[in-house]
């Protein structure tokens, strides 16, 4: 679903919640005990909007975060310094970097908080994102990543990249 220039994606989790609750209400309204079915039918005026809010609120949040990230993209593209993964260390915390590598792992995409492991010839690093990437990134994709070096747990942990852009450059095979 595209709003303006932003491609809004709802993660599988709110969709699953929507399906589960909608199914529950349908079963209660049509196949439940008569008293319960009556109550549910009388309440449809607020149940239906509430059910759609399960989809609308995540969509709005995703739109907001995607548009914020889109605003940051030019700044990151301008400021980023291309580095080798192995040379990323604690003293680079806060620096904006660009790395190019292959996606070895892609996790937590179903909750719109993807975490990738990106490796170049020198090593691998965790790349965290707090929204959906514009590209549909999968394992074995060759990507360029723009982001800021942060600690994994904000104040402690090893350096990881807080990703603003992850973009496919080509694909293996």
């Amino acid at each position: 679903m595209k709003i303006g220039s932003v491609d809004v994606r709802i993660s599988i989790l709110p969709i699953a919640a929507f399906i589960v609750f909608t199914s529950g209400f349908i079963i209660a309204a049509f196949f439940g005990p008569p008293e319960m079915a009556d109550d549910v039918r009388k309440s449809l005026i607020w149940i239906i909007p509430a059910l759609f809010l399960l989809l609308i609120i995540p969509a709005i949040l995703n739109y907001m975060s995607r548009s914020q990230y889109a605003d940051l993209e030019p700044e990151y593209e301008m400021k980023a310094k291309t580095v080798r993964v192995r040379l990323i260390n604690e003293s680079m915390i806060g620096k904006i970097v660009r790395i190019v590598g292959v996606v070895e792992q892609a996790r937590y995409q179903f909750i719109n908080r993807p975490q990738f492991t990106v490796a170049d010839r020198s090593g691998s690093i965790s790349v965290k994102m707090f929204t959906t990437p514009a590209d549909d990134v999968k394992v074995n994709d060759i990507v360029e990543v723009y982001g800021q070096v942060i600690r994994r747990y904000i104040v402690t942990g090893e350096p990881v990249i807080n990703c603003v852009i992850i973009r496919k450059t080509e694909q293996n095979g």
């Binding site: 310094k81 192995r86 040379l87 604690e90 003293s91 970097v97 747990y153 942990g157």
Partner: protein, 273 residues
């Protein structure tokens, strides 16, 4: 720094990990005994052992280079178990399960997050390991090295680690021209300058590149690879040059040691890669 005079932390650390299950299980068992003797009326207070054990575990986790967020958060549960009234049987079961969990976490900390760092982040010495071994073994090569050259080496290492490659190249060039710099240190500065310039412009490995001499082998942290894999050799040259500068700075410029210690993880990564 010598092994003949171990720091107190080195002798306490192995016992500290074993102390976690002792405190956790011991607290509950002592609580049960006191309860049966009619001294302790509320079994929740037997969780004091688990609370101390969790605090110890969190401290041990904090001293690791890689922090274990699970171990760090265990005192929260220890406090909850200590302050929340609970029925006798449920309390004992809960505390024993918690003690078992702390024991597993202590073992996990030991085997997954490595041995503790002597003195934690406040230490003034390199912790035992390959990096300290290298720095100690290469010390002779930097005897009589001027402190100003050691400081140059530290600055070049710092700028390089920060990703300030242009500044690192300029510093390395200036240092390599300084009179009195030993030949092997000059070569390290030159290698760093070449790598920093290439990294700054994001250029690939050139066909010909600077290398150390076979005579430099005794001060190399990593063995030089044989011919046939130029990419590996090129990378090893950079690692060796950076580690040589780290060691030179450590020996010749003691005032830079706190900053070097803060970058020991990067140096260790270079050494172990």
């Amino acid at each position: 720094m010598t092994d003949n005079n171990p720091s107190p932390e080195k002798t306490i650390f192995p016992f500290a990990e074993a102390l976690v299950p002792v405190l956790a299980f011991g607290g509950t068992l002592a609580g049960v005994a006191l309860h049966n003797a009619g001294i302790l009326f509320e079994i929740q207070y037997a969780a004091i052992g688990g609370l101390f054990a969790s605090c110890l575990l969190a401290y041990l986790a904090w001293t690791r280079l890689h922090k274990d967020i699970v171990a760090l958060s265990t005192p929260i549960y220890g406090i909850i178990f200590f302050v929340t009234p609970i029925e006798y049987t449920a309390g004992v079961v809960l505390q024993l399960v918690y003690a078992a969990g702390l024991t597993i976490l202590a073992a996990r900390l030991r085997y997954r997050f490595g041995p503790g760092i002597a003195g934690g982040s406040s230490t003034k010495e390199l912790p035992p390991g390959p990096l300290r071994d290298y720095v100690e073994s290469s010390g002779g090569a930097f005897e009589g090295l001027f402190s100003v050259i050691g400081h140059d080496a530290a600055l070049a290492f710092f700028r390089f680690s920060e990703g300030e490659y242009q500044a690192a190249a300029e510093l390395a060039h200036a240092a390599s021209c300084r009179s009195g710099t030993p030949e092997h240190v000059v070569r390290a500065f030159s290698v760093i300058r070449q790598h920093a310039e290439l990294l700054d412009k994001n250029l690939p490995r050139p066909l010909t590149y600077l290398t150390f001499l076979p005579a430099d082998a005794p001060v190399m942290a990593k063995p030089l690879p044989g011919p046939g894999d130029p990419d590996h050799e090129f990378g090893t040259m950079m690692d060796n040059a950076l580690l040589l500068l780290f060691s030179a700075a450590w020996h010749a410029s003691p005032e830079d040691r706190p900053s070097l210690l803060s970058l020991q993880q990067f140096a260790r990564k270079l050494l172990e890669a």
